[in-house]
Symmetry: D2
Subunit: 376 residues, 4 copies
């Protein structure tokens, strides 16, 4: 693990999810740019002292050189550091799992993509929300045609923390996310807008092709705290993303709605155990995670029976299990897309296109990850 020293916000969840999945052991780390803190963190986490490293480079070198070395590096640092840390890990032939958003420039993302390909390793990106069983249920139902042809996809991702007095946000807890030098050229767009994108693209099985965007701030911070994106997918499907991180009364309010010709479904991250389906002129249906009417491939990710609440940890654990499968049996893909570097590339591409569109007064702008080598 690179990053994630004591006190860091999300890294502890990642470790709990790895443990819950039963598929990963934390054996080495470069937990902090401060070597003393890194050592202390390693000790607290049960990592052998000789496997606590100064930085990602040293870690990659050290582990690649051990017969029992780690095969996969998880990068959980601020966005601006991702590129170099992922690159040195890939160069040593290690699999990489990187936090989102991947990097700040499409060019960098492509470099990583090609490097991973050349080395034949897996590159996962922790877009967590496709890990929820009811998001998978939704994907199954869309794919098998329960809604008819898809016409529209909506996602909102509403939070309030940016509206807080910045002095209440610790450096580890979020203030770096408002600094364009660390967070990158977009704020909310990259931070949660790309999460919304990942869920919509996972559900539809098709990428966003064009965007008309408005990025703005209502708090005066140097980067956007609000992003509104009108979307075009393939085959005439349209969409809308509303991401806002300065909306009082909202915690982690990701809500998606996908509408087809005959039915619409809706899922909310804060009530992740149910899936709402509304039908044309008929009764609404509320599906519950774990019940026998789930699609078998979605059901296979269920741990607790219906009525015994699962949450974020289980979803992230599912994602880490997917990553383990992708590393161990890369030629046996599971029933659902695993958020990998292509998801990362698309996230960067949407951020770039949104910036462009916003700069041109909302002009429709294509969102392509390109094909540097005809791949992707």
């Amino acid at each position: 693990m690179v990053g994630g020293g004591t006190g860091s916000f999300f890294a502890s969840y990642h470790r709990a999810a790895m443990r819950l999945s039963g598929r990963w052991d934390l054996v080495a780390g470069a937990f902090s740019s401060d070597m003393a803190r890194s050592v202390a963190s390693g000790s607290a986490l049960g990592v052998a002292p000789d496997r606590v490293y100064r930085d990602a480079d040293a870690l990659a070198e050290g582990e690649a050189g051990r017969p029992d070395g780690a095969r996969t590096v998880a990068v959980v640092t601020p966005n601006a550091l991702h590129f170099e840390q992922c690159k040195v890990s890939l160069e040593r032939g290690l699999n990489v799992i990187c936090d989102k958003p991947l990097v700040n420039e499409l060019e960098e993302a492509w470099t990583l993509h090609e490097l991973a390909k050349r080395k034949g390793v897996f590159f996962g990106v922790t877009f967590t929300y496709p890990g929820y069983p009811m998001v998978r249920e939704a994907r199954s139902r869309i794919a098998r045609g329960d809604l008819g042809r898809i016409k529209f996809a909506y996602a909102e991702y509403l939070q309030e923390w940016v509206a807080e007095d910045p002095r209440n946000l610790g450096a580890k807890g979020g203030s770096w996310r408002s600094d364009p030098n660390v967070a990158g050229p977009t704020g909310t767009m990259a931070d949660v807008g790309t999460h919304a994108q990942s869920v919509l693209e996972f559900l539809l099985g098709t990428p966003i092709e064009a965007v008309s965007a408005r990025l703005s701030t209502s708090t005066g911070r140097a980067i956007d705290d609000r992003a509104i994106l009108m979307l075009r997918f393939s085959e005439g499907t349209e969409g809308l993303i509303w991401a806002d991180q300065a909306l009082p009364g909202h915690r982690n309010g990701l809500r998606v709605k996908v509408a087809g010709e005959t039915a619409t479904l809706e899922w909310r991250q804060e009530a992740p155990e149910t899936l709402w389906i509304g039908t044309l002129g008929g009764a609404d249906q509320i599906l519950h995670r774990g019940q026998k009417d789930m699609a078998p491939e979605a059901m296979s990710y269920v741990t607790f029976p219906a009525g015994v609440p699962e949450g974020y940890l289980e979803a992230l654990g599912i994602l880490y299990a997917d990553f383990a499968d992708a590393v161990e049996t890369p030629d046996q893909p599971g029933p659902f897309e695993v958020p990998d570097i292509v998801y990362g590339l698309r996230g960067v591409a949407l951020c770039e296109a949104a910036l462009t569109s916003n700069g041109k007064g909302g002009a429709w702008t294509p969102v392509g990850i390109g094909n540097r080598n005809g791949t992707a």
Copy 2:
């Protein structure tokens, strides 16, 4: 009343709301372009046979000429007929209450506005939703600063009926709404988009100044069944309207959310008895209509105690009581704005601006009702 013969969809609600308000009597009508139907409707409604007229013109002439003649004409016909019917009524010095959207062109709206002004009569437009007590409560709370400075306003208006097989929609029940020759150049934009606008402008007390719009159809009908509008209000407040009438599982899904610096409120038309307020880092509050924590001016519109559900009829009755006040005591305005011809003008202006913006690929377009005589 002009229009609203037997079988017409909304006219019967208007009549029930008039009765409920206790402020209006239906004494004359031109209920149908077919005189026999008009006579039959009048008979069923208890209107004297000599006060059933061939058309709006005859009605205005007939009633204006009677000492006991009606003083106000309610126009509840399809959009394309509004202009002429309102005009002849105003010319005879009658007050007018017209269904929304008012007319299809800003030029026409201005003509009516000036005519009403010259004749010194009242011109109301039936934007119903500001009639709900909890919308008024929301307005009071916004106006007195409960949310802090307003940063963002959202409205969605989601319906499903356009996704139905058109053969299931009777001519009276809705099919004319898909015909641009009757409904006008925009469909969903005018039909429910202007409702969303009216609620947002009522709540904020300030008009939309610019729009970036996408109008589209997912059903193939000749006019839009979906309208997405990014909005700019004055003083940096931004907004978003998502209107869609082909979204399965949605009936009359108007939902508004207004966010300030410290709190956000949300109201849903299908659960109109409560108002949700979310605060920065604190508990959500659910306010109930009729409780003692309501603002006094909003409380004054409450009939039933909390827990005894009121609905659409009471809201429309409140609007008709407002209209009665505006007619009877024009110099004593009540505590809330009454949806009048300025609301009508703004609706037409937003439709025009949205068409323009959509035609220019979402370019930001000003939304002004202009000032033909420096008024408004």
Copy 3:
């Protein structure tokens, strides 16, 4: 109308519902025991001065003696007055509509029942809640077997007003309800417990046969403010009623749940537009009033389309329309039971049985309306 002078709480709703039904005209009244107030109320309500009476007796005599006299008397006074007022009206051959609870003793209820029978007139009791369309939908679904054989029926009726400082309750607004000399020997049991009973018996189509009851007070008032009733219906169906009027945070919280072998349904008075159905191992269904999947006989009571909220007024209007049908076409019963004097009798019988059971430490006690003449 007997009772219901200016300022009275529920009488104004009754009058609005009568108007909404379009089936009743208010032509005479004894609105107050104070003749001056009665005259003033009559004047405000548009009743001719010569048809405003001193009391129920005078009203019955006066109207029965007119060729154009009222045929039906609505009694909306406190409980203790019902018996005499209903009796004199019935003796003059007038139909009676009386507020619930009917009277305080089964003996009195039987006297009224027999009198109505002998005179051949209709006697309705305003148990409002069976008037809601979605309660009727629930009845239709239970009757046609959608839930399988019924196993259990639950109702809660939770309010808070008794927990208020009594000084905040006006004499008209509720304080008489805590006075056993006016309200009768039971408080909450009679006031809302019988409402809960009426809905359960309407839904199941079968009466309560035995009860184990606990009546108590948590406020120290002279009569119960809480009633918990374990129930036995016929054929092994059991049930539970929890009524409490001193429960802070609850307004008019009637909620019913009926469970069969394969499905359970639930309806809430404060969200009356939907009906929840939960199935064994499957998705929940949310039915909406006005949609095409409603039972035709329930649909026939719908006014507004789905998504346009109806409320209490519409439900009470449906009840008054039922009463009009029962008066006008007594030999053509409608598709649903009309709350009549048998409902009134059962309410009184349950109150008596609950008092008995409570006095015996919760002993199971039969609930029979008896058969004074082998009728009922």
Copy 4:
């Protein structure tokens, strides 16, 4: 661990919760009465072969005899086996954590209680629901008087699985719960009724003193599938428990509501992240787990920030952390009661009293755990 071989239903959750708490290691087990299965389970769970035992007795003997032996035994077998297995473990001086309901007779429970006391070891009982942070928040608010004096406490625990065709229930998955020889003399009463009890007693901080009960079956199984209990707590507080395991459409529907003089709170296990508080005449409040308005002692159990859903696993993990504290620092009690053998005793006592009351037609019956040695 005693019990919990491969395929057992709840044992795997217990193990995941132990891991999540970071406070427990599984080092030994008697996982099955079938030694081959036990060995296989041990192997799958990473337990050394020499620490897989034939039965609880052998385990207690073996581990007590090792210098590195387990200090605590977790008993996760069917109810009828608990007594002997706990007894042999206690006799060897081991701490015990036992699944609920503890045993079937109060006499047995007292024997265990005294044995634990004599040996000076901890005896925990896995009443999970007090582990939820928002249940702790509720307890804090009740204890500090936010609701005023407590008047009433309600719990419902509604499930559907007993209504399923018994052939769909595997032996491990639930069918033993319907067999009185294994499950004990009460079914639903013991299985989920005692859970409801534990939450109410945890919230109120005071035990149930008397009960009027109705136990019945609607499925024909040999023991109750429904239990309705009217309750008396100390100081005039009353209560109600409705437990039903044959109610279609309900999964794990534990809902509690506690009412005081000025406010009422409600918590639902299937939406465990929020706490509803209704106030007299005021707005409802929805509290969210993890927000800064939580009581500090409840907040200390929060892992994820508000909006990142926690579930059952986290609650059970908190319980296991409590157990670890009780074992490690028995003289430093935490801020909340730990469900221990007194909770177990009370559960058994309520089952016995409910059976007695039911046998006497609902007669009020005292619920005492007695004081075999003046303890408890």
